[in-house]
Every structure is written in structure tokens, then in C-alpha cells.
């Protein structure tokens, strides 16, 4: 069926073979009720290797959504087919997985891409195959410009770091020292924090770029302390690396030296908080989601999530992104009246408004990027543990890089 779309008018040996096999299968393949149909959502996630835990987070979100909302939208049954792209060190694999999902599994919508290279490598393929793809995480600003079929449901780093820079300048912080990981997202974070902070009247007095997987931050923190800034802005890629960073800021006595710590919210992801413990005390972060948000959508999400992942599990912002990715697909299918061609889906996605667990979100029709609230949070004690508690909301933040 789909094959002929890419080779109009072409009749080769394979078409004949395919026709013959299709004819043989015809009596079985004919659906019982004409209107009932199936739609395959191809899901590309890191499910094995170092970043498997991230993949698990998105997967939980996807499952939680289907638990709450069922698998049917009107007369369309939404089925997910998952493939493993093994994380960021396999860009061409994510492209191949995407191609296979479209061709072999007949996926009509793709959901996935945790990392920037993986999304980038699939861009031209999606354009050629005309398949809408929803980016579940990859946060480098430029991705959505690489294919007209990309939509981002996560966030961009400039969204977080510029919000934080803006807040810092407004809250009486005059000087900042930056410590970011030395790769594309880190440089993005540094650039946009600096821009927003200096536009608000602050001054960045120095900075360090650290190796991406560095576990040793003492020398950088020492230099930061000697520079005597009002605050340090930090960004690193999450997971163990961020746990190490946070613990060492505590050991080095940043707070004792009278220096505030500002980080993008992914560094102090809710599911890393238990490992960070009291290193979280007083740390200011900016993120688009947090577990403690009080709204009905979040309550629905949390109860579904706990059913899927266990009563004591803590969701990550990534889980919400998986959940919202499915929500956007369901929304598009409803809004398009069950039409599943790429144009109808894309038209339904552009300008879509959703009631997300993170608060109201919209898809900017011009850039297909997400517009959402950014929460400024402070790390403090909550019960027997620690948590990031929002104390300020910046509403309707667009990606400042576009």
C-alpha cells in the first residue's frame, strides 16, 4: 500500500511479487468492519545501554497515557511499536529504525528521539516519507527546522536557561560564574543563560567548560569560588554525572562561601533527588515539570503512572514528555476527524492546546516547538527527603532561540 506512494507508476518485478503475495493474503486481510482501523505509532527510544533508564521513563509515560485513555480514538486503534536506538552514540541506527518502522511496521506517526543526533539523522528521512514525528526529548533548538514534520513536545535548553537567567537578574544576583559540560547542549545553556542574564543587567564574570562525562568538579568549583561571584550557573548531562557535580558543590562549600547555585532543572531531575540528598539545599533550578504541581491533569497522570511503574516510583520530567507525546497524537487524531495523512495530522498539531500535567501547553504553529510554563524552584526539605519546590512560574515561554 505505502510502497506505491514512493514509486508512483512504477511496476517492477518486486511490485508484481508483492501484488501476488498481497492477492494471496487478501481474503484474510480484509477488515471485518470497514471503518475500524489500526494506526501504528513507531517509537524510537534508547532502551538498552547507558541510557536505558531514560527510555524506561518515556515508555512508562506512553503506557500511563494509554492506561488512562485507552487505545482507541474514535474508530482508530492506536498501537505502539518500540525500537531501540541505543542512545546518542548511534545516530545512523535511529535513522534505520525510523525507516524500518515506517516501511516494515507501517508506522504512520513516529514518537521518540531522546538525543539530538538521533533526531537530526532521521530528519531528511521523515521529510521524504512524509511522516509526522514528535520529538520526545532532544533539546537542541535547531532540530525542528530540519524537517517540516518535526514537532517538539519536550523543551529546549534555551527555554530553561534563559528563564533562569532572567529570574537571576531580577532577583538581585549581580555576578555569575558558569560551569557547563563541553558539548552542544552545554554551549546552548551557557549562551542563553548569559544572554538573558546580561540583558537583565547582570554580568557573567567567568566560566569553565567541563568534559561531558567528567566526574571530578573540584578544580572548576575552586576556581569559581576564587572568582567570588554571587552565583554559579551549572549545566551537565544528568544521571551520575550530575549527581557527582551536585555532591561536590556541597563538599566544596559553595553555600558557605555565600555563592548561590543555579542549574537547569534536568540537572536536579526529580528521580536523581534521592541520590543528591542535602546537596539540593537552596539550589535554584528551572524546569517545565515537577511532581508536586497541583492540577487535575497531574493528579490523573500520577495515579496512572503509579499503576504502571509501582506505588513508590517517582516520575521524571521525561515520563511526562512521553505521556504528552501520546496526548498530542490522540489530540491530533481527534482534531483531524480521524484523517491520518501527514497534512491533516500536521495541521491538527500546529497550534494544538493541551492540558498537560505540567500545566497548559501549546504548539507554536510557526515553529512547531512547544510553548509552556517554566517553573523556578528551590531545593528544600520535604518530609524525610528533599524536593524541588516551585515558588515562581514564568508563563507561556517560547523557545528564545527562534
Amino acid at each position: 500500500m505505502a510502497r506505491t506512494e514512493w514509486h508512483p507508476g512504477r511496476v517492477g518485478r518486486r511490485t508484481v511479487l508483492l501484488g501476488a503475495s498481497a492477492a494471496a493474503g487478501l481474503p484474510l486481510a480484509r477488515p471485518a468492519i470497514a471503518q475500524e482501523r489500526k494506526l501504528v505509532v513507531g517509537v524510537v527510544l534508547p532502551l538498552s545501554g547507558t541510557f536505558a533508564d531514560q527510555g524506561k521513563n518515556y515508555e512508562d509515560g506512553i503506557k500511563a497515557f494509554q492506561k488512562v485513555n485507552g487505545t482507541k480514538v474514535g474508530n482508530i486503534t492506536v498501537e505502539t511499536v518500540m525500537r531501540d536506538d541505543q542512545g546518542p552514540a548511534s545516530g545512523d541506527l535511529s535513522r534505520r529504525m525510523t525507516q524500518e518502522l515506517i516501511q516494515r511496521s507501517r508506522a504512520e506517526i513516529i514518537l521518540g528521539y531522546s538525543f539530538t543526533p538521533n533526531a537530526m539523522s532521521a530528519a531528511s528521512l521523515l521529510t521524504e516519507a512524509k511522516r509526522p514525528a514528535i520529538i520526545i526529548n532532544a533539546a537542541t533548538s535547531v532540530i525542528t527546522e530540519r524537517s517540516p514534520y518535526f514537532t517538539r513536545i519536550s523543551m529546549t535548553l534555551p527555554q530553561l536557561s534563559a528563564s533562569l537567567g532572567q529570574w537571576a537578574a531580577k532577583s538581585g544576583i549581580k555576578t555569575v560564574y558558569t560551569i557547563v559540560s563541553d558539548y552542544a547542549p552545554g554551549l546552548d545553556a551557557e549562551t542563553w543563560f548569559t544572554k538573558a542574564f546580561e540583558a537583565g543587567g547582570g554580568k557573567v564574570i567567568g566560566g569553565a567548560r567541563t568534559p561531558v562525562s567528567a566526574m571530578e568538579y573540584s578544580p572548576f568549583l575552586q576556581r569559581a569560588i576564587e572568582a567570588k561571584p554571587d552565583a554559579v550557573f551549572g549545566f551537565n548531562p544528568g544521571g551520575d554525572v550530575s549527581v557527582a557535580f551536585m555532591k561536590q558543590t556541597k563538599e566544596r562549600g559553595l553555600t558557605e562561601a555565600g555563592i548561590k547555585l543555579l542549574v537547569t532543572g534536568d540537572v536536579v531531575d526529580d528521580n536523581l533527588v534521592p541520590a543528591m540528598g542535602d546537596a539540593l539545599d537552596g539550589v535554584i533550578s528551572a524546569l517545565h515539570y515537577q511532581v508536586e504541581l497541583q492540577n487535575p491533569a497531574n493528579q490523573r497522570f500520577l495515579s496512572a503512572f503509579r499503576e504502571v511503574a509501582g506505588a513508590n516510583a517517582v516520575p521524571s520530567y521525561r515520563t511526562v514528555q512521553g505521556y504528552d507525546g501520546m496526548a498530542l497524537i490522540y489530540h491530533a487524531l481527534q482534531a483531524s476527524g480521524g484523517k491520518t495523512d501527514a497534512e491533516s495530522i500536521m495541521n491538527a498539531i500546529k497550534g494544538a492546546r493541551l492540558d498537560s500535567p505540567r500545566g497548559p501547553i501549546t504548539i507554536d504553529p510557526a515553529t512547531r516547538d512547544i510553548v509552556q510554563n517554566i517553573y523556578i524552584r528551590r531545593g528544600q526539605r520535604l518530609g524525610s527527603g528533599w524536593a524541588n519546590i516551585a515558588f515562581e512560574t514564568i508563563e507561556g515561554v517560547k523557545d528564545p532561540a527562534k
Binding site: W6, L47, A89, R95, E100, T116, S121
Partner: protein
């Protein structure tokens, strides 16, 4: 020996062509398999024929990939031209590195090639203006092959293009390893001290083998970048270097058709297992690799030979 090698090439080619007709939805998998097979063959010229081990062979693969991507990004979009340039650039890089690699024994070679691999990876990561750093390079379009065949979505052009490259690599290496030069390499593998005694210039032979091997690896990398329209850091990373070693071992190092089968078996296994269980497929790969070392000594090729011998013995 010669006959069996050439004889195995034809059934393999026929099997590849049969794959085109029987599994039209799997063309991209076949394409990646052909590329890996060419890469594995280039590596096996070193390990299997000259007895030189390396944990950094992906350096040349990645160099070829970036060369092809950069050429396309700067206006040279014809793929075959890209291949030739990638061959030259990677070959030249290998030539420059030979002095570091061919000295010493296996252990120092492993460490040195590992070190070169890490250095190149970090260099490519830092040179963001050139390579796109961790984001990879996707901002280029490939022209039609020889100005005639456009890369299509279903991957038909990519299939035949990569198959053609593999056939050329296969034929070239078969010719090379059965030539006097190939015999000299085998002599070096078997007894490196005796070779000078019969007047063989050991280090020059090794340098030649290393340069050729690097050049071919670069061609394989270039095909990957061209057919997937993408070049990224992982293409020069350690994992790829280790994988190529596994493929050669699984297939039977020193046997050209064996290595092709090894690469095919390895990629098929990865694809099939990761489709069955997207999370735990590494477990399956590990078990198969271990089993292949214990059960199939000499890899798939060794298994075949043993089977043939047994059949003959019975008859």
C-alpha cells in the same frame, strides 16, 4: 584453497540478490550489513592475514564517513567521487599512523590503537565547526550515483550501491591475499622473526597492509555516511572498533567469505534480537558470542570446514 574462496563468493552474491527479491522490506538492513561486511573485511586484512590486532580501526571508518559528508556539504555531491576521496584520505591517515602501529607486539598495538581512537574521537568532538561535534553532520544532500541513480526512501539504490562496493572490496582482497604479497603477510603472521631471513621487508609489508586496510575502511564509512545521509562521532568510536573485531572473530578471522558471513550473522542477530526484546538483546548477543568461541572454533568459516571434513570422512 583458492577455489573454495572464489567459489564461496558467488553463492554469497546470489544470496544477497535473493534477499532483494525475498525481503523487500529489509533493504536498509541489507545495506547496513554490506557496509559492515566491507568494514570487517578491511579489518580482517590486518588481523586475519597479517596478524596485526587493532582496537581503533573505526578511526578510518569514521574518517571516511566525515570525508564523504564534508565533500557533499561543500558541493561535491556525486557519491562515487566521495568514495574515491574517502579512500585516499583514510589511506593517507593510515599511512601516517603506520609507524606508531606496526612497531611492537600485540599488547602495545592494542593500547596504541585504542589511544589513537580516543584522540581522534575527542578531536572530532572539539572540531565543532568542521564536524558538528556531538550533534553529528546531517546538513548535506547526496547527489545521484554517477549522476543516474537517486537515493530513494525504500533504499534500493543504497542496496545496490553498497553491494557493488562490497563486491569490489571482496574481489580486491581475494586477489590481494592470494598474491605473493598476501603470502608474505601470512608469513609475517605465522613467524615474524623468520621473514627477514628470507629477505621479506616486514615493516614495509605491514605499512602497505595497514594503508590499504585503512583506505578500505574509509570507503565503508563513506558508504554509510552517504546512504544514511549522516555522519556522527560514534562512527569513529570504540564500540564500532570492538564490533568489527567481534564480526571478524564470529565469522572466522583469515577467511574472506567467513568474515562476510560473520558480519551478516552479527547484524542479523542484533536486528532480530533487538526486535524481540528492545531492552535485553545484549544478553542474547553475549551468549551467542561466547558460544561461538567455545563451540565454533575458527568461527563460522571454521565450522564449515569442520563440517565438510566430517561429511567427507563419513562418505
Amino acid at each position: 584453497m583458492r577455489l573454495t574462496r572464489l567459489g564461496a563468493g558467488l553463492p554469497l552474491l546470489l544470496a544477497a540478490l535473493a534477499g532483494y527479491f525475498l525481503f523487500p522490506d529489509y533493504l536498509t538492513l541489507f545495506t547496513s550489513l554490506f557496509i559492515l561486511a566491507a568494514f570487517a573485511l578491511s579489518y580482517d586484512l590486518l588481523q586475519g592475514h597479517a596478524g596485526v590486532v587493532s582496537l581503533g580501526h573505526a578511526v578510518f571508518f569514521g574518517t571516511g564517513a566525515y570525508t564523504a559528508a564534508l565533500l557533499a556539504a561543500h558541493g561535491v555531491q556525486e557519491p562515487v567521487t566521495g568514495l574515491v576521496v574517502a579512500l585516499l584520505v583514510s589511506g593517507l591517515l593510515a599511512l601516517l599512523l603506520t609507524r606508531l602501529v606496526v612497531v611492537g607486539n600485540d599488547l602495545t598495538r592494542l593500547l596504541i590503537t585504542l589511544g589513537i581512537g580516543f584522540l581522534m574521537l575527542e578531536a572530532a568532538n572539539q572540531a565543532r565547526w568542521l564536524t558538528g561535534g556531538a550533534d553529528g553532520m546531517s546538513d548535506f544532500t547526496m547527489g545521484p550515483v554517477l549522476g543516474l541513480f537517486r537515493f530513494d526512501f525504500a533504499g534500493e539504490t543504497a542496496f545496490f550501491y553498497s553491494l557493488a562496493v562490497l563486491v569490489l572490496v571482496y574481489a580486491f582482497l581475494w586477489r590481494l591475499t592470494t598474491s605473493p604479497f598476501g603470502l608474505a603477510l601470512r608469513g609475517i603472521r605465522e613467524n615474524v622473526r623468520r621473514m627477514p631471513a628470507i629477505g621479506a621487508p616486514v615493516s614495509r609489508h605491514l605499512a602497505t597492509a595497514y594503508t590499504i586496510s585503512g583506505g578500505i575502511a574509509g570507503v565503508a564509512g563513506a558508504v554509510l555516511a552517504q546512504t544514511s545521509n549522516f555522519a556522527s562521532l560514534d562512527m569513529l568510536g570504540f564500540e564500532r572498533s570492538a564490533e568489527v573485531m567481534m564480526m571478524a572473530t564470529l565469522g572466522g578471522t583469515g577467511s574472506i567469505p567467513g568474515v562476510v558471513l560473520g558480519a551478516a550473522g552479527f547484524s542479523y542477530l542484533k536486528d532480530a534480537l533487538s526486535a524481540v526484546s528492545p531492552k535485553y538483546w545484549h544478553l542474547g548477543i553475549g551468549l551467542v558470542l561466547m558460544a561461538s568461541v567455545f563451540v565454533l572454533r575458527g568461527g563460522i568459516a571454521g565450522g564449515f570446514t569442520a563440517l565438510l571434513r566430517r561429511l567427507r570422512g563419513r562418505a
